[in-house]
Point group: C2
Chain length 336, copies 2
Amino acid sequence: MKLASLRDGSRDGKLVVVNDRLTYCTEATTIAPTLQAALDDWQHAAPKLQLLAESLSHEAVPMIRFHEHEALSPLPRAFQWADGSAYVNHVELVRKARGATMPDSFWTEPLMYQGGSDTFLAPRDPIRMKDEAWGIDLEGEIAVITGDVPMGIGAEEARDCILLVVLVNDVSLRGLIPAELGKGFGFFQSKPSSAFSPVAVTPAALGDAWKGGKLHLPLHVELNGEPFGRANGGVDMTFDFGRLIAHAARTRKLSAGTIIGSGTVSNKLDGGPGKPVSEGGVGYSCIAEQRVVETLKDGEAKTPFLRFGDTVRIEMPDTEGHSIFGAIEQTVEQAT
Amino acid sequence: MKLASLRDGSRDGKLVVVNDRLTYCTEATTIAPTLQAALDDWQHAAPKLQLLAESLSHEAVPMIRFHEHEALSPLPRAFQWADGSAYVNHVELVRKARGATMPDSFWTEPLMYQGGSDTFLAPRDPIRMKDEAWGIDLEGEIAVITGDVPMGIGAEEARDCILLVVLVNDVSLRGLIPAELGKGFGFFQSKPSSAFSPVAVTPAALGDAWKGGKLHLPLHVELNGEPFGRANGGVDMTFDFGRLIAHAARTRKLSAGTIIGSGTVSNKLDGGPGKPVSEGGVGYSCIAEQRVVETLKDGEAKTPFLRFGDTVRIEMPDTEGHSIFGAIEQTVEQAT
């Protein structure tokens, strides 16, 4: 089952069920007006939404064309956005860039930050920033949306709390990060609003690609139309989503509609620092990683962070090449 | 105007208008079903709620007894909870306890962390934790609830975005903080669910006590029935709420219903480290501060963090002794 929230002038959008190929959708508002409302009452809403999805697949309900650019983020605002760093290779590389070493505990205990969740960008919204010097970067990620999660849940059990899977562009302001982290309280200004894929997908609808709390497919990242990243979500993910949820729920319960991110998808192939897609590697899911690799190799970073006018596209095709979640596609613009 | 969300089995509670003395209330659900719904459409909802409050004060509408223990937190879940450290004295003291110095920039640039906002405790809910060794502490704070805030707003202008004022118990797990902050991504497990006062109050209804984006009244904190803190919200607040909101909105807009906290209310009277209420001082709004002062004075902390069975009460009386926001009163219990 695939769900989306269409732009209708409201803050939370209008819930629709989308067909597998993302060509048509049908209104689901008689079941639940918004995705959050469906998540709040998932036990009752999910079977009805599933039936509607089946009817849609048989063209047995009123159908409207689905246009990705009419979709908001599936949850245009959420009660929680917590982002892990499950691909520890990414953490190690980015720390190297700052000249910081990484404690061994990072391989055994997830790193996670509390993100802002009140104003997510739509998947085709521009990224509007005041200043290029803030070091605007993309971060291509996978995330899950949970149901209610009790405090103290175990990692295995937590996998059953995963209701939906989405893609994320976790926009980061690299220029603001060192000073902000230096103050000791984590990210705030350095993590502006993120954007999510047009469509949220149930784990069941991901078929064999969803296994062990991980999504085993390459994440396609394009920068100004050129292939930039092809890292596989199932490779080098040290902590699966069940483990990340359990980490978040250690000292408090989590409410339905909580979004837990994977952190930047990153593969450490052949034990090396990775290669650009143009050189036959899997590339990167953020610019910071490429810059670190360049610095390690040539002594200096040559790829700039995002500039006004640059375009980022994040998408995940299935094994037949069909887009599973639709595309996040955002242009960087100067805020006035 | 005073607003509350009554427990009715739903996730967001039922919106009521409460009279000034907190003795009676009247349902406001025909105006907006929930406080979030009212905040989403404040321009239209506020005048109607205001009229209802006036009718209630004239006993001209159906009245029901208001019982604080039937109230949820005004926003039982919110889209954003961002907590500042506006009382820099608190930051300096707590850092001293860890043997960490405080950069001078902390006096000119607010410190703020992104908190979890999906599962707030009701004001009379127990604080359930697995382990006393986590170092369970209260933090008595003041917070504001904003309307929509545009990105890049100035501090003065931001004061006009403050729609409601509340009290907070920002529960902290002192034992988990050093390791978590050491990882560099800020608080997560060390900041479990917070609880808010039964009632949210408009700045206008605070009268002279609300001035310059600060609340100029003592915050009463009791520990097991004994006076523990009487720090004044208007004293030594280095950054007013307008400044805190502007800090949060530097790189992204904030959505209606955003809650911005002051951090632990803390006064640095006479330039000294403060004295307990029992010795004629204003005391503390968290146990950690008292422990630091003890350590500085006697070489060791003697006041323990909260133990199972301990009770915390946070309240703010007006100049005539009437409770403005109702009381947060929570007992610490062992989670099973």
